[in-house]
Symmetry: C2
Subunit: 269 residues, 2 copies
Amino acid sequence: MNILIVYAHPEPRSLNGSLKNFSMAVLERAGHRVQVSDLYAMQWKATADAGDFLEHEPETRLRYPAASGEAFANGTQAPEIAAEQAKLVWADVVIFQFPLWWFSMPAILKGWVDRVFAAGFAYNVGEHTPHRYGDRYGEGTLEGKRAMVIMTVGGREAHYGPRGIDGPIEDLLFPIQHGIFFYPGMTVLPPFVVYSADRLKPEGYTAIEAALEQRLVTLATTEPVAYRVQNHGDYEMPGLALKVGLEGKTQGFAMHTRDSSPCIDEPAS
Amino acid sequence: MNILIVYAHPEPRSLNGSLKNFSMAVLERAGHRVQVSDLYAMQWKATADAGDFLEHEPETRLRYPAASGEAFANGTQAPEIAAEQAKLVWADVVIFQFPLWWFSMPAILKGWVDRVFAAGFAYNVGEHTPHRYGDRYGEGTLEGKRAMVIMTVGGREAHYGPRGIDGPIEDLLFPIQHGIFFYPGMTVLPPFVVYSADRLKPEGYTAIEAALEQRLVTLATTEPVAYRVQNHGDYEMPGLALKVGLEGKTQGFAMHTRDSSPCIDEPAS
């Protein structure tokens, strides 16, 4: 398979750096092709602005989504944006690797999403009528690809449990997994999370590599998170509210996952 | 009161730009002092890296949290970081104003948080023992200040309702309101959200200004979101799981809000 790792950490000599190198080695040894977008090494511009569009005229009011759609359609995006989109199209599997900072991604990675996920590419795709609100949430440009978070967390695992004070990890990741991966069509694999990363002792590292390797060699077969596809009948139109009764006993983000279902985009095995 | 608006939009001639100017005028007319950190105008560096610490030596492995704590303690932070911290200390009310991009803040604003919310300032504050896990979630350096999101959203309000496909807006804002505002001690006011911002007609704008003005003139008296203070007895130690039974009928993020309680940091009126 073709695997893209979008990697955001400022220090190559870090736990994240080691795990990124380890992942590359494991995946290449297994016969996959790997590309890494090492955002710090690339000095990726994090800030979305008029400079992202080669033909934007300064005297014109910038409407970022519209300008993004135009530049995508006309081939006038900043070249580094088009290059990252080409990597996404190339990839069968997309991995975001990052340390959790303030309960989300580092700014440099958010800025990769803000700029690369252009209108016409990652959103505003498909028919928008009273009967259909685009190809999104399980459908779209990136449909059929698998996506996964590899993440280090400074805090303790218990704090991110179902009753933990920081909030359940799957809910904290919902804006990324559902809102960024699933929205343009990707199938989402459960995240690989290393907790208490700042307190890791050298003797704990080997077990982390072993667990990560297990996840990497099963990328093609791991059961995905069962997010509900927008256009498969679970949502009312035009409001896109989940049909009453489908939520079972869940509330909030959890209702957008089919509890005990087989995987979404994969044929039954 | 002293009011800090941290503002992130690339286009001054935008709905966000107009609302920011309107807020400044309303607040100043009401006798408040207002500072605006206009991150795009300031060309704020979004990316947290070794350049944030004046005395970091390139040959030393960068551990961002530790380096941040040291630089904060020693007065060797990049001057623009210290300047933003001083604004936070000065403020009685902190407003984040931004367009919702990919279910979170624009990267430039996330990068303001990543860099300004230093160790020793916004986290790693207070006693860390088996009996107490720091001053955070309702306590800390920014305790007593009020914080609020003013946000535009391209999508429709129904999509962000309790059953909406994008997820409930209060859950999408939890990582910001609970994880960024409440964590270092700020009291959180309900957000002011403008939906369908890309489809706004001129005749709709006046009503938005009127609703925003109502929120701005009641900043001091608006009932806050009732997030649970970490050290007030609702959480088990050392795991910081919410004590069984306190969640009522809620799950996920919602259990960290006391449902029918009076406000958190205000005296009973």
